[in-house]
């Protein structure tokens, strides 16, 4: 890849040909505000907030490739004015009850508004025009709040480019433009697979998990469902797992997950979880101590082995348990003298 020279905000730098202005700026630690850009996705260029001046012309930094000798200014008066007005326009059409919003403090619109310098004085000149107050709560996992949607299209591109199902697209025209399913049906009746990739990427509170709980710490692990082995990051609050996100560093899934991996963790805290050993007494499974339960099992194992030979014993290992668990199970039963060990690999 050839390198080209560009001048950005007075600094001469070298960058790889083919990079966009945005990517170059980012690599230099120069912040350019944007609302519709996402590093995982193709560029869109709709928010018009990442405008910069390149060779005297205003261009969108997210789409414009650098050219040799290009002179880039990321903070001219024109550019700042345009960014400010475009962000103000979004805010006129945005439910601004930030405190009660699930995305509070993690919101791209808040971040960008602060950067471009939105002030109450300027906002007062403008008229509030909420064009879409619909809330789609059909999906049991996440909700869509259109009063907070900035129509950046990140969810549309995510569904098309990450999941590949394209359950949503832009719908309607003009200021009524919104994100719609086929036939504008509730999302639950669409092709949506509830993978949550769009919810993960939504820059505002338009797509949020219902009853979201913010974790206090995170733990890296691997998904316990199918054989793909996606990397997970569990969010923990107290002693409960409260969220899951994809591990972007894991090469298996690059952070992508499906509905089960991302949302199938409630079972951990389910009240029906077994919490104590049970021993059948008088035909009924009754709570018992570990000592009692394990002593009984040990005694029974020895009894059957001694009376009927080791092949009277059989064990099922598990495709769900760890290698270490399975290793010990087969070691235990083989040590007892039987090879009657199998599991449901065939199912």
């Amino acid at each position: 890849m050839a390198t080209v020279k560009v001048n950005i905000n007075g600094m001469d730098v070298q960058a790889e040909e083919g990079m966009t202005i945005y990517e170059v700026a980012q690599s230099l630690g120069i912040y350019i505000p944007t609302l519709c850009y996402h590093p995982d996705l193709s560029t869109f260029g709709g928010c018009r907030v990442c405008m910069v001046e390149a060779n005297g012309e205003e261009v969108t930094a997210c789409r414009a490739p650098i050219k040799d000798g290009m002179v880039i200014k990321t903070d001219t008066e024109n550019v700042s004015q345009m960014r400010l007005i475009n962000v103000e326009l979004i805010l006129t059409n945005h439910d601004q009850d930030c405190q009660s919003c699930a995305r509070n403090n993690n919101c791209k619109l808040q971040e960008v508004s602060a950067f471009v310098g939105v002030t109450p004085e300027r906002m007062q000149r403008l008229r509030r025009v909420i064009t879409n107050e619909v809330k789609d709560i059909s999906n049991p996992i996440f909700q869509r709040d259109f009063a907070k949607c900035i129509v950046c299209g990140i969810c549309v591109r995510t569904c098309e480019e990450i999941n590949g199902i394209a359950a949503i697209d832009f719908g309607f025209r003009g200021y009524k433009t919104t994100i719609s399913t086929l036939g504008d049906k509730p999302i639950l009746e669409s092709k949506c697979e509830s993978c949550g990739e769009c919810v993960e990427r939504c820059p505002t509170g338009a797509l949020v998990v219902k009853g979201q709980v913010i974790p206090e710490r995170e733990v890296k692990t691997v998904c316990a469902y199918c054989g793909v082995g996606c990397g997970l990051i569990l969010g923990v609050r107290g002693s409960r797992v409260v969220s899951v996100r994809g591990d972007r560093e894991n090469p298996v899934n690059n952070g992508h997950l499906c509905i089960k991996g991302r949302y199938g963790f409630d079972f951990l805290n389910h009240p029906e979880r077994l919490k104590t050993p049970l021993v059948r007494k008088g035909g009924v499974l009754t709570e018992a101590s570990w000592e009692e339960a394990l002593s009984l099992v040990a005694a029974k194992i020895k009894e059957y082995r001694d009376n009927f030979g080791p092949d009277a014993l059989a064990a099922l290992a598990s495709a769900r348990c760890t290698n270490e668990d399975n290793y010990l199970l087969q070691k235990l039963f083989r040590s007892l003298g039987t090879n009657n060990i199998d599991h449901c690999a065939r199912l």
């Binding site: 260029g45 709709g46 018009r48 789409r63 007005i85 475009n86 979004i90 025009v129 433009t177």
Partner: protein, 629 residues
Amino acid sequence: MHEAFVSLRAEAIRKWEERQQSTIPRILVGSATCGCATGALDVITAIEQKLQETGIKAHIQQVGCIGMCYAEVLVDIIKPGRPRISYKNMTPETVAELLEDYLLNDNPRPDLALAVIGEGEVEGIPNLADEPVFKSQQRIVLKNCGHIDPESIEDYMAQDGYMGLVKALQMQPQEIVDIVTKSELRGRGGAGFPAGRKWNSCLRAAGDQKYVICNADEGDPGAFMDRSVQEGDPHALIEGMTIAGYAIGASKGYIYVRAEYPLAVVRLKKAIEQAKEKNLLGENILGSGFSFDLEIFQGAGAFVCGESTALVMSIEGKRGMPRPLPRPRTTEAGLWNKPTLLNNVKTFAYVPQIIHKGADWFTSTGTEGCRGTAVFALTGKIKRSGLIEVPMGIELGKIIHEIGGGVLNDRKFKAVQTGGPSGGCLPESKLNLPVDFDTLVEAGSMMGSGGMVVLDETTCMVDVARYFLQFTLEESCGQCVPCRLGTLQMLEILNEICAGKGREGDIELLVELGKSIIASSICGLGKSAPNPVLSTINYFRDEYEAHIKDRACPALVCKDLIKYSIDVEKCSGCGLCRKNCPTEAITGGKKEPHVIDQVKCTKCGICYDVCPDRFRAVACFTGKEKAAV
């Protein structure tokens, strides 16, 4: 190749001549969409009936639109040995009368006639060429409209049709592109991009598959130039596109036409079939080895699909959204990412004649920098509305006062809006400007695809700006913030101004927003959406100020700012206003002065209209009780 065409053409001319020499009268009825809307089909039925009743033999022929909408339904009669006389505003009744008088009794009825078309004289009827409506016009694109049967390829061929194609097929593609370049033809879609440059870039683009697309997605309110060409002379478009296909090396073309133009679709389909039948389209055209196929693609009514990249997406089956810059040129990566030549209907329709008659012929019309003619749909408060074709550079005032005959009801001219929702309003002081792409843009408007709406003193300029803005904001594709929300914000402000709720600083805010929308929108739609507002602020700022500061609408249009009342002194209590008031807002006893209940009044103005002139008791007020009109 030549031989085959020569005999086709000879046959077509023979038939045409035969018809001119016809021993029975010919009746031409303008039955494009405009004619049909005015009742052309009923007129045709009436003609048929009359002919049957009287036993007169005559040949009826449907033709396209000649452009004189104010005179529709137009019926032309050519009696053997007599000139062609055009009759205006025909109804089933008057046409029956006319047929009896003229065909049976040889009274040409000058009272019903509009003009004589072509050579010859008839007493009491002027010649169209000498009429103000026509004498400054010059017809190139519209030359066949209203003269030939658009459903007959032979009619077209008798007018030198397909001569351009035949000539082109004997040339090298580069030669054709050079002629187009030399003709200085600029694209008629609105932006006026040099066609030759586009063709050249497409010719040079690498690719085994290329496409030609005709943008017939004419969406400006009040504009119907492209429709008229498609309905009145479809073969000109087909021939132009075929020449383009040969010139750039494309084997496939699409005509992207509005689904709201059903007659255009029917006529184009018929024309394509006929051209294929005669081997002027399709496989191995006239044995040249060049094949070209044309397909009609009907748009679903999105205005933004007139934008070239959105149009391409629409044909590809996607949501039509303009692709943001930077993006590859359509000429290099257009439809299905293949090199694509996209031009407007009129641009293609010029091409056959340019090739046939040469570049110099074309450059002899118009001005330096803007060659050829301009087609306008002249509408609004104008006496002679219709479709006109004038040489580039004609004075704006001439169009309005001479061709258009001046303002309707002899009211005072206020402004002319050009360029559709993307254009702007020009005041009286700009009527001396020459009409071309660049001058209008400098003046804050644009030629656009050719809409021209005349506004008089009864038009509120704030309201007009609001109307056009409303149109664009509803038609925005919605992808970029300035266009989606900026225009909405401007509309909200205009709504408040018109409702008497404007604030100090709103005019400056509108200008600030407008400039930012122009600077930061993705496509031409957004970049021109504020034009109607900015140009009216520029030329009619006092009207905005009156709305905001005085809460007054000087044109008495904005209902929230006007008030009707009855002068007690003048009212005789005739009761006409009370009887006609749709909301029962007027009360008063017989012979007693009447009163308007302002709460019930919807400001429809009927009381004002019906109050007899001898009393003139109803008055309209605006602002700080300032009387007006």
